[in-house]
Amino acid sequence: MNDVFRRSLVFSTFAVAIVFIGFLQSWNVALGIFNLCLISATMALGVNIQLGYAGIFNAGVMGFAALGGLSAVIISYKPVSETISLGGLGILICILILILGSALGVIVYKSNLSQAYKKILFPLIIIVVLLCLNLIGAPAVERIEAFEPAASGFLGGFGLPIILSWMVGGVIAGIVAYLIGKITLGLRSDYLAIATLGIAEVIIYILKNEDWLTRGVKNVNGLPRPVPYEIDLQESTWFIELCQIFGFPLVETSSIVVKLSYCFLFSMVVLTLFILSEVALKSPWGRMMRAIRDNEISARAMGKNVKARHLEIFILGSAIIGLAGAMLTTLEGQFTPTTYQPLRFTFTVWVMVIIGGTGNNYGSLIGGFLVWFLWVEAEPLGLYLVELITSPLSETNPLRIQLITNAAHMRYMMMGLLLLLVLRFAPKGIFPEDR
């Protein structure tokens, strides 16, 4: 009973904070923050599965989120028929060569050839594949990127409803997680963190530089939405009449309605994931995971396949992060590879999970909510604080101007302090793990 009380107290405090923002700033801002809170909570749920259930330190959150964003582009953007006819075939052949090459590599690896043969065959396969890619891929890519580089210059996507990309984002992230997990999961905890940090960077580099796929740093704008556009709402008669009946301002109401529809979609996802993770945690599978985390050796002695279980959970968690990444790109309506920063994505999500309470799904929810809320509200708060501190100085004092312009960066300091304080004084987080 105590637990239920505690949970409802914390969650209702958060609800009050959002309502407070609604009255103080505007409902538009409040809903905007809440939507991102929901996405953050989704990411936190994914990381919690890895960090909390199994103790896997995945520092590649950013990469998986970006893969989700990529899937949103590939699924929803209209196909650019000109570039496809220019270089689509070349790209397709390249993908086939890559798959073939990897398959050949795996076959050689699994075969019972002697080590000496393998040592010769592996580099040979790699060189041949690279050569083929250069010969076939490079001209195709050049042709695609040369086509109207200011407006297009990439292959586009399948033109399907963007909501489909949430699932696809999860699947793509899961497949990549399988490949990464195969290589890195045998490593010790901090090596794993470093390796995954690196993989995330590599994924971002690829997304930034392969213009034929993502337009790189030129960004992809104008992704279709799963919800109506404000402008359509403002022009439809039923909406105008509705606003007149209740006396709402038309423009503001339309954007609130749009945000509310996003909120509904995201809440559905979060709720489903939350229930599934909770069921999984309480099931024998969840108990086995925690047993492996707490004592790997005895779990192995009980006949559990630790490596396979770790791989399983790495894929699951990464898939959820990929889904959250697709949701984020859907909400923003554009894909900007440069915005993927490890501080903003990877480590902030870690802070969410740790502050909420590692291994507790309620904790991940509230951690995602609270930390994102603070991350956004740190800016006005920091500005207020700096203005208060520097108020004795004159308006034109360069130090004061400097500090005020940089006040937004207080959020990093705040995150750091929050993490250090929680780690020191409440290492189990807001909601400690159930035992």
């Binding site: 103790g55 330190f57 690279l130 250069n134 290589i183 890195t184 490593l187 905890s189 901090d190 090596y191 963190a193 470093i194 390796a195 940090l197 690196g198 993989i199 960077e201 590599v202 580099y205 930034k208 530089n209 920063q341 490890p342 501080l343 480590f347 870690w350 802070v351 740790i354 400097q402 500090l403 312009t405 940089n406 006040a407 960066h409 207080m410 959020r411 990093y412 300091m413 705040m414 995150m415 750091g416 302090l417 993490l419 250090l420 780690l423 020191r424 290492p427």
Partner: protein, 336 residues
């Protein structure tokens, strides 16, 4: 003659930048490896420590320049480097006192240390952006070149040439001097030996009367000093960017792990291995091959293994290969 031309090209585009960047990585990796050897955790805050040191140095340089202080042909920042080292060491001292000493007493898991270092990283990153702002700062006010490509060509009469930047010469020289001092310190002095003993076997070191607090503090001070050197030299050579240091964390970790984590010689070698291979793999060999091969075999493409955009990916690929093939690194790491 053609061979010399090719050599000059490689020197200009690979060897000099490679050894400079390698020196910067080596200094960073030395700090990471020392912390790992003594405190046994991977310090994610090290990149931000480098940034912090460079920032302090820049602030004092500006102050000095406003009083008209300069260092002639050398960058003014070098005068204020000792002050910056002092401040960074002090900052490290505070980090150790307020953050890590608690977990050390509790004998926490290395992963807790790692998370705490991420907290420190966040805090330091915020502090830096708060004080100096997120934009780039160029603070190299010395003479840019010792000799440039044109002067070299005129002197030797070759078609191709290389230029030596002042910052490159300073970086490489400083690194050689610093590494020699560090190795003499670790191998010959009593304090250095006690550090090695502590890293080798903590309990035995305690039994023989080594004060752990002193060793740990000293390690932090040395790591802070090395980080400042690395940060300032990197800033002088390229430009000071607060955002770049988180990205540099990866090549630095790679250097430390490739050389064998916890092994100072490994860290230095690892730094050069990473830097040089980044450049060797992303360099376009077309011009070089044009000099070396007979005219009929002149290549038409760029003759580049990987596009330059994938520089950082190279360090990562090397890291993964080393982790799979030889997890202890080239020099069998773990102890100093």
């Amino acid at each position: 003659m053609d061979f010399l031309n090719a050599l000059a090209l490689i020197t200009n585009y690979i060897l000099l930048p490679g050894f400079t960047y390698g020196s910067q990585l080596a200094l960073g990796a030395l700090g990471v490896t020392l912390i790992y050897a003594v405190l046994r955790f991977s310090n994610f805050a090290h990149g931000e420590l480098m940034s912090f040191g460079a920032m302090i140095c820049i602030l004092f340089t500006w102050l000095g320049q406003s009083y008209g202080i300069n260092f002639g042909v050398l960058p003014t920042a070098l005068i204020f480097l000792p002050i910056a080292i002092g401040f960074t060491a002090l900052y490290c001292f505070f980090i150790e006192k307020f953050v890590f000493s608690y977990y050390r007493r509790k004998k926490s898991d290395p992963i807790i240390f790692l998370i705490a270092s991420i907290g420190v990283m966040f805090f330091t990153a915020g502090l830096i952006r708060f004080v100096i702002g997120p934009s780039d700062q160029n603070f190299n006010d010395g003479v840019r070149f010792i000799f440039n490509v044109r002067e070299f060509k005129a002197f030797t009469g070759l078609e191709e040439g290389f230029g030596l930047k002042t910052s490159q010469a300073i970086t490489i020289l400083t690194t050689i001097i610093l590494c020699s001092i560090l190795f003499v310190f670790l191998n010959k002095t009593r304090t250095g030996k006690s550090m090695r003993a502590f890293s080798d076997n903590e309990d035995l070191a305690l039994l023989s009367g080594i004060d752990p607090n002193k060793v740990v503090l000293l390690t932090w001070v040395i790591a802070g000093g090395l980080a400042t050197f690395a940060g300032v030299l990197y800033g002088l050579d390229k430009i000071y960017k607060p955002f770049i240091f988180l990205q540099m964390l990866l090549p630095i970790f790679s250097a430390a792990i490739v050389g064998g984590v916890g092994n100072p010689i490994g860290a230095v070698v690892g730094g050069y291995v990473i830097a040089l291979s980044e450049l060797f793999v992303t360099f376009a060999y077309r011009k070089v091959l044009a000099y070396l091969l007979p005219e009929s075999m002149e290549p038409s493409g760029m003759m580049q293994f990987l596009s330059t955009d994938y520089k950082f990916a190279v360090s990562f690929i090397i890291l993964v290969i080393v982790l799979i093939v030889r997890p202890t690194g080239i020099f069998r790491g773990k102890t100093i």
